[in-house]
Structure formats: structure tokens, C-alpha cells
């Protein structure tokens, strides 16, 4: 059912039609023919009916390599059991609340003072329902204190609770050498030895630790200037500016870029910092379905055709806000298509590369490098130093005029203290290492190691039968757990086997789709990964987590038969 652009234009306002055939003849530069893969075949508002969403692009002029993402659909029986689980938890929650009300059970949550009972309530019991009855039960999986460098292995402080996780006590022991599968340590720069740590220590002796001012006043060190030039060189853009906090980079700079009368088109699964920045700016926000380019195009064309809501005046600016890697899903943005759309409809693009900078691309320059695109096509490149560089803070990079404007108009620049010198030195050294400018090939090796580890880990988990979300190249690997009890069980069982993982549940994810999120690091050696994988497999068998219904290419039963068994039978 091929559609010509003429018929599509005639149906201007209709929902995007599902395209039945996968590939269409190319028309270079035309955004209409961007939707070539089955991923874009669904309508903007229809529910997904296919069993799985697997997208493999074969020959498409926009993509230089295959783009494989999969989000296997939740099996129905799992969804039903998960809902049943939540219902049981809710029933027990109400029961225990009743017991607490009758003072049979202890009450731990803050309550009104007796003399203020008639005032407007300060605490709403129902708002704490989830925290009291669901979160507290499995609270020991989060906020675990770490007492070493969060590298490939870490030390945890052992803690116990005698009142079912309401309070914790430290036993005094340290759990040593816990395999760290949760830190955003993609290139392994979280270390306390080596050239980065040494140069940072040296800088402390020269500059001290605090800066005691904002960038605009006296806090602009020559180290900051050096670091910003380095970042600009790393990314291949004209100019860059760094801020002390990654979250604040987004939430304080988006209001400086857009305001009332502008339109922000943001992805469904954008990070809270982007959502907060968008809401603070006062611009109109429209959300498009995650990574769905057809939906984005529909929104863009509608915005341009109809203009602002009541006055129908043209929008002052249209800003598309996407992320490089979405950390809850492990998916990578379809950047070539976004850039083609942006050029066609003349919108601006804000790319948040918090998780992808340093982790993707053969030179480690992020998702722009991964797709072999020109960084000058992206108007605002944003990223953080927390994940791949082992430091802290965020940056915004782009044209020189943009960055000069931000230096005087951004809240972070004017009011927040500047970055601490050792952190800045860590960024400079790690960036030089990745670029190879320090004369060694450590950076190159780490990038390769990360890519190998990612591919290996994903492949092995798939083969074992777990449901893994996301792109095949993303070092963030969400593994589905679904049921609320398994969230707590998985975290605890893995800790018993000396592996630390991050588990996430509702409301940070949707109700049914709770998950464990693994972050692979270049610091993980193959032995560490193998240990982790065998532990995950064991726990997965005990907890019955192997939900995948795909046929694996290497059937697991093939390993059961040794080669010489058949020879014995013949004799």
C-alpha cells in the first residue's frame, strides 16, 4: 500500500496511516519518506498490536549502520499476575493501615500534632500509602552506602534492619569487592589511581578545592577556560560552556533558550531535568511518542500549519528536545531522522547526551559520532561529565553566539558557584585520554572494551531468555522483572551473591514494567561479566525471570550433549 506524497498532503489532518510495506523507494532529502521501517508503521495514538517491536533497517540512506532496537511485548499472563500482585499488596496495605489506626501495629510515618488536628492537614495519609506499604518493604535495595571508589568492584557497608526497613543499623562489617553493575561508569574513569587522579590531586595543591564565587564574578579560573576549549574540540563544535550540575544544566538553560510563545516538542521518556526545564521556561510543551518519527513529523507539521493555539500566529521558536540514550529503556534516538525533520521544518534541536557521550561512537564522541553525522547540525549539544568522564557537572555546546548568550543569560552561570578545580582537571585529563592526546592508547582501548562488553553482555542475556529492552549498542541494559515482589527479591539475591544492581519500579516506570538496570563499564573484565552472568542466570531461574518467548539461535539444549556421547552409543 504505497502512498504518494500527494495523497498524504491531501489528508493533512488525518492520523498517520500505517505503512504496510517496509521499504519504499528513496527520495533524497524528502522527509516524507523517512518512515521506512516497521517501527514507524503504527499510528500515533493506536496501541501496539504486534507481538514484538523489532526494527532492523537494512538499506536506508540516512543510517550508516543497522539500527536494531527491540522492546518485547509483556506476556499477557505476566501482566495479569503483576496486577494481581499489586492488588494483594494494596489489600494488605489497607489492612495494615487499619491495624495502625487501631494502634495494634506501630506507626512510623509523621503524623499531625494533637493540638493541630483541626487545621488544614499537613500530611495526607493516603499520599504516603505507596511509601508506607510498598516502598518500605523493599527499601533495603536502595540508598546502599558505598565506601570505596565505584569502579568495577566496590565495597558496601553492611546494614541490617530490625523493624522491617524503617530504620537501619550498621553492623560494622564491610562487604568487600561487590561487582558493580549499577554505576554510570561507562569508560571506567571512576578510579583513585592513575593519571587522572594524580593530576587532579596536583591541581588541588595549586588551586585548592572550592572556588568561592560564581563564573560571572571571580570564579572563572583559567582551568575552566581550558576545559571548555577542550570540550568544544572534543565535540567538534565552536564553543562550549560547563556547569556544576548536570540536572541544573538542563533545568536552568532551557528557560534561557525558549520562553512564552515558543514550542517545545519533547520525547515521551525525557528525563525529569528536561521536563522541569521545559515547564520552567513557560513555553508550550507537546509530547511525541517515544522515538516515533512519524508522530514527531505530524506534530511539527501541525505546529507550523496551525501556529499558536488561539491566535494562530506563528511560533517564535520550535525546539525539539531528545536524548542520546534513554536510560530507562536503553534506546538510542533516531538522530538522522530527527535532523532531517528539523532541517525540513526549520526547527531547532536540543540533544541531551547525558548517557551517550563517551559511551557511543567509534571515537567516543557520542550519538552524533555513532551515526556519523555532523555535530554542527545539532543546535544545542548538551551532556554531562558524570557518566563517562568520572567527574561531575554538565556542558552545553554549540555555536559561539549561542554560548556567549548563555554565559550572560543562564541562571547557572550567573548565580551558581563554578566547578571545583580538581573536578575540572579530571574532565580535562579524561577527555585527553579518550581523544588520545595524552600519547597513550588507553582511551581507544577503553572504547573498544566498552563496545565488546556491551555486545557480549546483551547477547548472553538474550540467549539466557531474559527480556532486554533497548538498542543492541547501548551500554544501559534494562532487564524486565515485572512483578513487584521480584523487584525486592532480585536486588537482595544479587547482593547475596556479591553483585550490586539497580532495580526500578512504579512510579519511576510504568505499573507493569518494573526492571533491573545494568550499566556496563569498560572497567569490567570478561571474568567479572561471566561471574555476573552466571549469577544472574541462577537468580533468574530461581525467580523465574526468563520470560522471553523468542526462539534463540543457539538452543540451550545444544550444550547438554557432549560430542563423545554419540560415539559411545555407536560402539
Amino acid at each position: 500500500m504505497a502512498e504518494s506524497p500527494a495523497t498524504k498532503e491531501a489528508h493533512g489532518e488525518e492520523m498517520c496511516r500505517p505503512l504496510k510495506n517496509g521499504l519504499k523507494p528513496e527520495r533524497n532529502g524528502s522527509a516524507r519518506n523517512l518512515h521506512r521501517n516497521r517501527q514507524n508503521d503504527r499510528r500515533c495514538q493506536a496501541d501496539e498490536e504486534e507481538e514484538e517491536e523489532e526494527t532492523i533497517l537494512q538499506h536506508d540512506s540516512l543510517y550508516s549502520r543497522p539500527f536494531t532496537e527491540s522492546f518485547e511485548e509483556t506476556p499477557m499472563w505476566v501482566a495479569v499476575l503483576t496486577n494481581v500482585g499489586y492488588v494483594i499488596l494494596i489489600i494488605f496495605g489497607y489492612l495494615r493501615d487499619l491495624l495502625r489506626h487501631w494502634k495494634i501495629e506501630q506507626r512510623h510515618i509523621a503524623r499531625e500534632k494533637e493540638e493541630q488536628k483541626d487545621f488544614v492537614p499537613l500530611y495526607r495519609d493516603f499520599q504516603n500509602f505507596y511509601t508506607r506499604n510498598l516502598y518500605m518493604r523493599i527499601r533495603d535495595n536502595w540508598n546502599r552506602p558505598i565506601c570505596s571508589v565505584p569502579g568495577a568492584k566496590m565495597d558496601l557497608m553492611d546494614r541490617t534492619s530490625h523493624d522491617y526497613n524503617w530504620t537501619f543499623e550498621y553492623t560494622g562489617r564491610t562487604v568487600k569487592d561487590v561487582i558493580n553493575l549499577g554505576s554510570y561508569n561507562y569508560l571506567g574513569f571512576a578510579e583513585n589511581t592513575g593519571p587522572c587522579a594524580d593530576s587532579a590531586a596536583q591541581v588541588v595543591r595549586t588551586y585548592g578545592i572550592g572556588v568561592a564565587s560564581t563564573r560571572q564574578e571571580i570564579g572563572n579560573l583559567d582551568k575552566h577556560e581550558e576545559m571548555e576549549k577542550q570540550v568544544a574540540k572534543f565535540l567538534g563544535v565552536e564553543s562550549a560552556m560547563a556547569f556544576g550540575m548536570g540536572f541544573a544544566t538542563n533545568s536552568m538553560n532551557i528557560p534561557a533558550l525558549v520562553g512564552k510563545g515558543c514550542l517545545i516538542l519533547s520525547d515521551e521518556l525525557n528525563h525529569t531535568s528536561l521536563v522541569l526545564g521545559a515547564r520552567l521556561s513557560g513555553a508550550t510543551i507537546r509530547v511525541f511518542k517515544h522515538n516515533n518519527m512519524q508522530c514527531l513529523e505530524k506534530l511539527l507539521s501541525e505546529a507550523i500549519i496551525y501556529g499558536q493555539p488561539r491566535t494562530h500566529r506563528p511560533w517564535k521558536k520550535i525546539l525539539i528536545v531528545v536524548e542520546g540514550i534513554y536510560s530507562m529503556e536503553g534506546s538510542i534516538v533516531r538522530l538522522p531522522e530527527v535532523i532531517a525533520l528539523k532541517k525540513r521544518y526549520k526547527a531547532y534541536l536540543y540533544l541531551d547526551e547525558a548517557h551517550s557521550i563517551g559511551a557511543l561512537g567509534h571515537r567516543g564522541r557520542g550519538v552524533v559520532d555513532y551515526f556519523d553525522l555532523d555535530p554542527r547540525d545539532v543546535d544545542v549539544l548538551m551532556g554531562t561529565f558524570t557518566k563517562s568522564f568520572g567527574a561531575a557537572g554538565g556542558y552545553i555546546a554549540g555555536k559561539r553566539e549561542l554560548i556567549e548568550y548563555l554565559r550572560s543569560h543562564s541562571h547557572s552561570a550567573v548565580y551558581a558557584a563554578s566547578m571545583s578545580p580538581p573536578v575540572v582537571e579530571q574532565i580535562i585529563t579524561s577527555m585527553k585520554c579518550i581523544m588520545g592526546d595524552d600519547g597513550t592508547s588507553i582511551g581507544c582501548k577503553r572504547l573498544q572494551q566498552l563496545a565488546e562488553n556491551t555486545t557480549y553482555f546483551r547477547r548472553r542475556l538474550r540467549e539466557m531468555g531474559f527480556i532486554i529492552y533497548g538498542n543492541d549498542d547501548s551500554p544501559v541494559i534494562p532487564m524486565m522483572l515485572y512483578m513487584p515482589a521480584k523487584i525486592g527479591a532480585f536486588g537482595r539475591e544479587m547482593l547475596k551473591k556479591n553483585i550490586g544492581v539497580v532495580v526500578v519500579g512504579f512510579p519511576a516506570t510504568s505499573l507493569v514494567e518494573s526492571r533491573a538496570r545494568f550499566c556496563i563499564s569498560a572497567a569490567h573484565s570478561k571474568e567479572i561479566l561471566d561471574t555476573a552472568l552466571s549469577a544472574i542466570s541462577e537468580v533468574g531461574d530461581v525467580l523465574q525471570l526468563k520470560y522471553s518467548r523468542r526462539l534463540t539461535q543457539n538452543a540451550p539444549s545444544a550444550h547438554l550433549f557432549a560430542e563423545n556421547m554419540f560415539e559411545d552409543i555407536d560402539h
Binding site: 501482566a79 493516603f126 515521551e268
Partner: protein, 146 residues
């Protein structure tokens, strides 16, 4: 524990009913309730149907139209604190459809007996009326205001 959401939607309550398997779980639980009631020996079949209808409507009224707010803190500064779940949801056409089906089935099985009819109709109305869009945010006699 205010981790916020990974989704742009700040109040996850609006999306709970759209989750996968919610509709099937709902239907299965009604079926289970009906079966349990059927296994009570001294209750006749028409009474069981009426009871199922009534209990279902009562539970739905309590959960969707009485309980207000969210069981967790949301980053939308408490906008949903005074809203019932029905008012928070963005759609719910399925639920009115299920009530109509249930009502029709019950009427059929009770053989249109007058007493049963009255009871069932009243029960249905208590659940259908709050769902009308004209009653969005309306609190009659100030009941359930805060």
C-alpha cells in the same frame, strides 16, 4: 522516595488503567467474584447475579469516585490531590461499557423481577452518573470535598 517518573507524565495514576493486562485482570477478577458467590449454597442464581452487579458497582464507586489523590507524591505540586481517580484518568469508556454489559446480563438472569430490577438500576446509576463529564469535579452536598 520521590524519584519522579521516567515518563513526561507527572501523575502516573492517569496511565495505570492503560497498562497491559489491566482489562484482562479486571474481567478475570469479576469472573472470580461471580464464581465465589455462585458457590454459596443457599443463594439462588438471580440473587447471585444481582449481588455480583452490586458488589462490582460498589467497589468501583469506592475506588474510582471516593478515594482521592494519589498514593504517592507527584511532582505536579498536588494538582490531583482533590481529584478522584476517575477525574484523573484521561479516558474510561471501557468501564461504562462493562457496566452496561453487566447490567444487561443481570437483568436477563433475574428474569426481570421487579425488586431485582429496582436494586440493579439504582446500583448502576450510582456508578454511571459520576462518570458523566458534566459531573467532573462536582461534589454534591459537599461530600468528599477535601
Amino acid at each position: 522516595m520521590n524519584v519522579g517518573t521516567a515518563h513526561s507524565e507527572v501523575n502516573p495514576n492517569t496511565r495505570v488503567m492503560n497498562s497491559r493486562g489491566m482489562w484482562l485482570s479486571y474481567t478475570l477478577s469479576i469472573g472470580l467474584l461471580h464464581h465465589i458467590l455462585l458457590s454459596i449454597p443457599f443463594v439462588s442464581v438471580p440473587v447471585v447475579w444481582t449481588l455480583t452487579n452490586m458488589i462490582h458497582n460498589l467497589c468501583m464507586y469506592l475506588l474510582l469516585h471516593t478515594v482521592k489523590g494519589t498514593p504517592f507524591q507527584t511532582p505536579d505540586q498536588g494538582k490531583a490531590r482533590l481529584l478522584t481517580h476517575w477525574e484523573q484518568m484521561d479516558y474510561g469508556v471501557q468501564f461504562t461499557a462493562s457496566q452496561r454489559v453487566s447490567y444487561l446480563l443481570t437483568s436477563f438472569y433475574t428474569k426481570y423481577d421487579r425488586v431485582h430490577f429496582v436494586v440493579n438500576t439504582v446500583s448502576l446509576l450510582t456508578v454511571l452518573i459520576p462518570k458523566l463529564p458534566q459531573l467532573h469535579g462536582v461534589r454534591i452536598f459537599g461530600i468528599n470535598k477535601y
